[in-house]
Amino acid sequence: MTHARIGKKIPPALSLEVDFEIAGLTALYGPKGGGKTLILETIAGFEKPDFGRILLDDAILFDAEARVNLPPRRRHCGYVAQRDALFPHMTLRRNLLFAAHRGPRLERSRRVAEMLERFQLTPVAASRPREIEPAEALRGAVARALLGEPKLLLLDDRGFDEALLRTIREAFPGPVLLVTGDLDLCCAAADRLILIEGGRIVQSGPPRTVVDRPESVDAARLLGFSNVFEGEIAALDPARKSSRLEFAGFALTGPYIPGRFRGSRVSIAVHPADLRVHSGEIERQPNAVSASLVRVSRGARAARLEFSGGIFADVPLEELERQKDNKSWQVEFPQQALRVL
């Protein structure tokens, strides 16, 4: 089992307290300054936690109570830092040979050549790090980390993509802990997703589940659910599997909420991409709310519309073009898009 329970205070900015297992490719996702990099550094052994216990393959790397704190070189953690750390005075091949220092010389060269080939670095093997592309430097750093024969791979946010992660997992069967700010990458490549904010785990689980079903207001906000409203359950209908929810200024039909009573407070979250907007002049749509448009910000493919009452909707640019002459608006909340927190 590979497991980390880490507590560390860095006053005044951060108080880190996390407890999680690392299995397969585990992704840490969250805003900057939330302690993700610090987690990697404590596991690699560069920062000492105040309390906790770190296990790698059932071997203890750190235990505050038993006063065990292995130095980084004995932890068998492959570490790819956020900043490029290929040794600048060595060629890429020498960098890799530095990592493969155990074993007979011929065997070392063979392993290095194999790794260069696997990460498509053979053409730049004789170049110094400053002469190669950032993407090649990243692949070089990964190849070097893997040649150190790690039992756990720690990857900090360096612009990893799905293809590179696939190559890594073909070359390395062990657990990988990835720090990333790319939610799409988490869904595409990770086995587990851990949301981290302010040094705490907000939610964890299979990426699809976490992304679809945020459990708290914090998780919803981290996952881009810009619409979070607090309201009251006005009615519950188990037969129709629906509920009537009342918020400040509007009411919606929501999914049935088991385990809650009429009159209890409830928060719901809706992703802006799940909302639909219509002209206010046409017939009132089911579960729609009339609202006035406050602001439009156009992105590359979609525009974000901000309505009165703090409602945000993402609309494809062509859809916005079609509705640009609307004098008034209504925003439709599809029932299945409502997430009860």
Binding site: P72, R73, G78, Y79, A85, F87, A99, R102, A141, L147
Partner: protein, 158 residues
């Protein structure tokens, strides 16, 4: 003892070389212990005390041939040179190491490298240039100090 340019260069070279070796060793020892680098300037005070003492004995009434604290031998002069430049070399070496990106050391350690391997293969080659530049100026410094003794001996006594 014959004063010649060659002798002065040799003494200065030896003193600088020994200082650099000691400086590297001390820097290696100190980086792995938590000694604040501020204290590395402390030995600078010895230099003043020692050079005064040396000058008094050599240029005092006893003269260079008299029995002083330091006999005026090559070894004695090298020792004096080492003592006078060592603190400067050490602080220069330490600041050269401190200026390195800590990421290189971390990467090397996580690859299983021992402290000695990190020092000799990563930190030393990366910091070599500033260290050598500093050693060159220390070399000139020792020559300057020897020049005082060289020109001073035999002229000031009486």
């Amino acid at each position: 003892m014959h004063w010649s340019l060659w002798l002065v260069l040799r003494i200065a070279g030896l003193a600088t070389g020994i200082s650099v070796v000691i400086g590297l060793w001390l820097a290696f020892v100190l980086t792995n212990r938590k000694v604040p680098s501020d204290y590395s300037f402390l030995p600078l005070q010895f230099k003043v005390v020692l050079s005064n003492a040396v000058l008094f004995y050599w240029l005092g009434t006893n003269g260079p041939s008299g029995a002083g604290l330091w006999p005026l031998t090559q070894a004695g002069l090298v020792a004096a040179g080492v003592i006078s430049v060592e603190p400067l070399v050490l602080s220069a070496v330490r600041s050269a190491f401190a200026g390195l990106d800590p990421g290189y050391g971390r990467a090397a350690r996580s690859l299983g490298a021992s402290e000695w391997r990190v020092f000799s293969r990563i930190h030393l080659p990366l910091a070599l240039r500033p260290i050598l530049g500093n050693a060159a100026s220390m070399f000139l410094g020792v020559i300057a100090q020897l020049a005082i003794v060289w020109w001073g001996t035999g002229r000031i006594s009486k």
